[in-house]
C-alpha cells in the first residue's frame, strides 16, 4: 500500500534448486507416479511377460471401466462428498438399458440414453437427499447401493439379459486403435476434459472451494448446492456409461455388472492423493491411483501369486499410499501438519470425554 510497512519478502525470480526440488516433490501426483513406475519395473523384472502387448492391452481395457467412474468420484470428492453406490448404479443402468433394447425393443441409441438417464437420475436423488435433507453421503449412498442391488434383481428377474442387439455386441468387440476398446477412448477423453475443467475453469475452482469449506464458498457467492448436486449427477451418469461399456464387452446384461466397484474406485482415487475430506486432489492423481491398483492386481496374477493375496495386496497398498501421503504433507508443511495433528489429538481425547 505504501512504504509504512516493510517490503514484501517476495522473490519469485530466483527459486533455489532446493526449493524447486521441494515444490516438485510436494506436488501430489509425483509420489504416485513414481510408485507406479516402480511397481511396473518390479513386475517386469519378476516376469517380462508383464509388459507384453497383450497384457498391457488387457490392463488398460480393464482400467477404463472403473477409471471412467473414478473420474466422477474424484470430482465428487473434490466437491466434498462421496458416493458408495457407483457399482450398483453401473449395474442398474446397464440392465435397464439392456431391457429397453431387448424387451421393449427401443432403438439402441435411445436405450443407451435411457441408461445414462437412469444413472444421472440416481445421482440427482443422491445429491438432493444429501445436500437438501442433510443426510450424510455415507448413509444415503450406502442405502442406494442396496436399493440398486435390489433393482437389478427386479429388472432382470435374476437372469442375464441376453442376447443383445447385434450392434451392441459388434460395438463391444470393436477397437479404436492398438486393440483397445472404445471404453478406453472414452476414458481418456473424459479424463482430459475433467482434468482441464478442474485445473483451468471457474467451475473447477469453485468445486475446490466448495469442498474446502462450503460456508466460505457460500459467502463468496458460490451456489454450493448446485455444485454438489451437479457432481453427484456426473458420478451417476459416468457410472452408467461404465456399466454399459461392460455390458457391451460381455455382450450381455449380466446382474453382476458393477458389483464391488465402489470400494476399488474409492481406494484407487485415494491412493492417487484425492482427499476423503474434500477440496484436494486431481483427476491425474485419481486416474494414476486406480491404474496403480489394477497394475498390482494384474501383476500379481502374471507372476503367479495366489488370488487371495491380491486382495491383501490392494488393502496394504491403499494404507501405505495414504500413509505415505500424510507423512509427505506433514514433512513439507511442518507448521500446518503439526497443527492438524494436535487438533486431531484433541479431537480424539474429547471424543472419549463425550462418549463417557
Amino acid at each position: 500500500m505504501n512504504s509504512a510497512a516493510p517490503a514484501t519478502t517476495e522473490n519469485p525470480t530466483a527459486p533455489s534448486l532446493r526449493n524447486r526440488l521441494i515444490s516438485f516433490i510436494a506436488i501430489g501426483e509425483v509420489g504416485v507416479i513414481a510408485a507406479l513406475l516402480l511397481l511396473v519395473a518390479f513386475f517386469y523384472f519378476m516376469q517380462p511377460a508383464f509388459l507384453s502387448e497383450r497384457n498391457i492391452r488387457a490392463i488398460l481395457n480393464v482400467v477404463s471401466f472403473v477409471g471412467i467412474i473414478a473420474i466422477g468420484q474424484t470430482i465428487l470428492l473434490v466437491a466434498g462428498e462421496f458416493d458408495l453406490s457407483v457399482g450398483s448404479v453401473a449395474g442398474v443402468s446397464a440392465v435397464i438399458a439392456a431391457q429397453l433394447m431387448t424387451a421393449l425393443a427401443w432403438p439402441v441409441p435411445l436405450a443407451i440414453l435411457g441408461g445414462m438417464g437412469v444413472g444421472a437420475f440416481i445421482g440427482l436423488v443422491n445429491g438432493i437427499i444429501v445436500v437438501k435433507f442433510r443426510i450424510p453421503a455415507f448413509i444415503q449412498t450406502l442405502g442406494m447401493l442396496f436399493i440398486g442391488q435390489g433393482l437389478i434383481q427386479l429388472v432382470t428377474g435374476g437372469y442375464p439379459v441376453y442376447p443383445l442387439p447385434k450392434e451392441v455386441s459388434d460395438f463391444g468387440m470393436s477397437t479404436f486403435a492398438f486393440g483397445l476398446g472404445w471404453s478406453f477412448a472414452f476414458f481418456i477423453v473424459a479424463a482430459i476434459v475433467a482434468d482441464f475443467v478442474l485445473r483451468r475453469t471457474v467451475l473447477g475452482r469453485n468445486l475446490y472451494a466448495t469442498g474446502g469449506n462450503p460456508e466460505v464458498a457460500r459467502l463468496v457467492g458460490i451456489n454450493t448446492t448446485i455444485y454438489k448436486i451437479g457432481a453427484f449427477i456426473t458420478v451417476g451418469a459416468l457410472s452408467a456409461v461404465a456399466g454399459m461399456f461392460v455390458m457391451a464387452d460381455l455382450q450381455s446384461g449380466t446382474t453382476s455388472i458393477g458389483s464391488g466397484w465402489e470400494l476399488i474406485v474409492i481406494a484407487g482415487v485415494v491412493v492417487g492423493g484425492v482427499s476423503l475430506f474434500g477440496g484436494a486432489g486431481t483427476i491425474a492423481g485419481g486416474v494414476v491411483g486406480i491404474l496403480m491398483l489394477k497394475v498390482v492386481q494384474s501383476g500379481l496374477v502374471v507372476i503367479g501369486v495366489n488370488s487371495n493375496w491380491q486382495q491383501i495386496a490392494v488393502g496394504v497398498i491403499m494404507v501405505l499410499a495414504v500413509g505415505l501421503d500424510i507423512l509427505r504433507r506433514r514433512y513439507f508443511t511442518v507448521g500446518a501438519g503439526a497443527k492438524t495433528a494436535a487438533a486431531k489429538k484433541a479431537g480424539t481425547q474429547a471424543g472419549k470425554i463425550s462418549g463417557a
Binding site: 475453469t201 469449506n213 470425554i353
Partner: protein
Amino acid sequence: MDPIFSARGIVKAFAGVQALRGVDFNVLPGEIHALLGQNGAGKSTLVKILNGVHPAGSYSGEITLAGAGVSFASPAAARAAGVGYVPQEIEVLEQLSVAENVFAGHTGLGEGVLIYRHKLEDRTRAILDDLGLTIDPKAIVASLTSAQRHLVMIARALALRPRVLMLDEPTASLSGTEVEALLEVLRRLKRQGVTMIYITHRLPEVLEVCDRATVLRDGRVAAELGREEFEEERFIFAMSGQRLQKLFPTHEAPVGARPMLEVEHLNVAGKPGAIYGARDVSFSVASGEIVGLAGLLGSGRSEILHGIFGRVAAEGTVKVDGQPVAIRSPRDARDAGIALLTEDRKRDGLLFNLPVGANITIGNLDPLSARGMVRGDRERSAILEAMRQLNVKASSPQASVAHLSGGNQQKLLFARVLMRAPKVLLLDEPTKGVDAATRQEIYRLVVELADKGVALVVVSSELEEVLGLCDRCLTIADGRIVDAFKRGEGGEDRVLRAVAAAQAETVRAAS
C-alpha cells in the same frame, strides 16, 4: 533476577521464509511480558516454539525453563511442564459443550476412565466465574460467537493452572468491557504468581498491564523495554522503524448524498441461548458515508450484517442505491453490490485447500476468465496487484494460506472483498489482529473507498475505532439500535451509557 523462561539464539526457517533470525528472549518470574511486532514479525512463531507446536529439532537455539534446559517435542510436553498457550486462531471442538472443550485433553477428572459431567461443569463454571464470564458451561460451542469461543480457549489454558501462560492476541476479537475483564484476570493471575507472555497489537493494553516488552522486527529483537521506558511512539518506532502520523485520516461525511444502503425493519432470529438476533433494525447509509455499529459482544451487531448479506434468514427490506433487492443468499447480496468481510477468518474466511492467490480471486473469477476458463495471466496480475495494494506478505501467490501470519491472512481477506468493487461494504472487525502500520493503511483505504462513493458499515469492538473512523455511530444492544449520533456528538461514555440503560431496561422488563 534470573529469567524463569528464556530463549537464546532462536533461528527458525520455513521453506523459503526465514521467520526468526536469532532471537534472545527473557521472561522474568511473575511478570507480564509483552511481545510486540508487526504482522509477520515472528511473534506467533516464537511462542509456538516455546510451546512445542514447532517441536524441538525444527529450530535451532536453546530454551530454559526455571533454570533447566528444556526441549519440548509437543504441546503436551510443554503443558506437562506448566507452560500454557492460547493460540491466535480459534481452535475449538464445535459440537462439544463449553465444559468439554475446557477440559479436552485433561486427565484426572473422575475415577479411572469415567468422567463426571457435573464435576466438569462445576469446575468450568468456577473458571468462567473467575474470568467474569456468564457463558453456560453446558452450551454447545457451535452456538457461541467467535469472541466467546476465544474466551473458552483462554479458560481451557487456565484449567491447567500453568506456571507460564502465553496468550497470542487474546483481545483481537474482544470488545472494551471484555478486554477490561480479561486484563483484570491477568492482573489477578499475576498476583497468584503466574508469569505471562502477552502478544497484542493494541498498545494501550501494554501500557496498562505489562511490565516489560520485547519488540520483534523481521525475526530479530528490535528492542527490549522496561516499564519505565514504555511509550507508544517508542513501541511503534521499534516495530516499524518509522514514526507514525495521526491515527485516523480525516473524513467528512458527504452532505446531501443519496442513500446507498437502506435497511428497514430488519429482523433476524437469534440462535437459542447464546446470541441475540436483530430486532426491527432500520438505518440508512449514504454514498460515501461510514457508519459504525458499537456494542458489546453478542449484542447483535454481526447478526445485523449477516441479515443484510443474506447469510442468515432475515425479514425486512434492503435497498441498494434506491432499488429494493430481494436477498435470499450471499450470492444475491453480492450481485446487488454488497460485500462482507467476516469476523472469524479461520472458519468463515480462508480456504485452506487453496493457495494465497486463489484465495484472493475466489468468487471474483468472472472478470478474470473467458468462456468459463480462468485466464492465468490475468489472474496472476490481478493477484499481484491486490497483494501489493494491501501489502500482503507472502512468499508467493502459490504459498499456503496456513503459513501466513494472522495479520496477513486478514489483509488477504480484505483484498478478496475489495476485488469486486462493491457499492456497499460491510466490515466485521476489519482490523482484528492487524499491526499498527497496516491498521492505518486499512483506515486510509476505508476512507478512500468512502471518498469514491462506497457506503461502509463497520462493526468494531474497539470503541475508539468506531468513534474515530465513522461519520455516524449506531449503538446496538440486545439486537436493537438504542442510540445514534454523528461524529463529535458523543464519546465512549455516550455509547456505554446507552448500553447500560438498555440493559437496565431489559432487566426491568424481565422482572
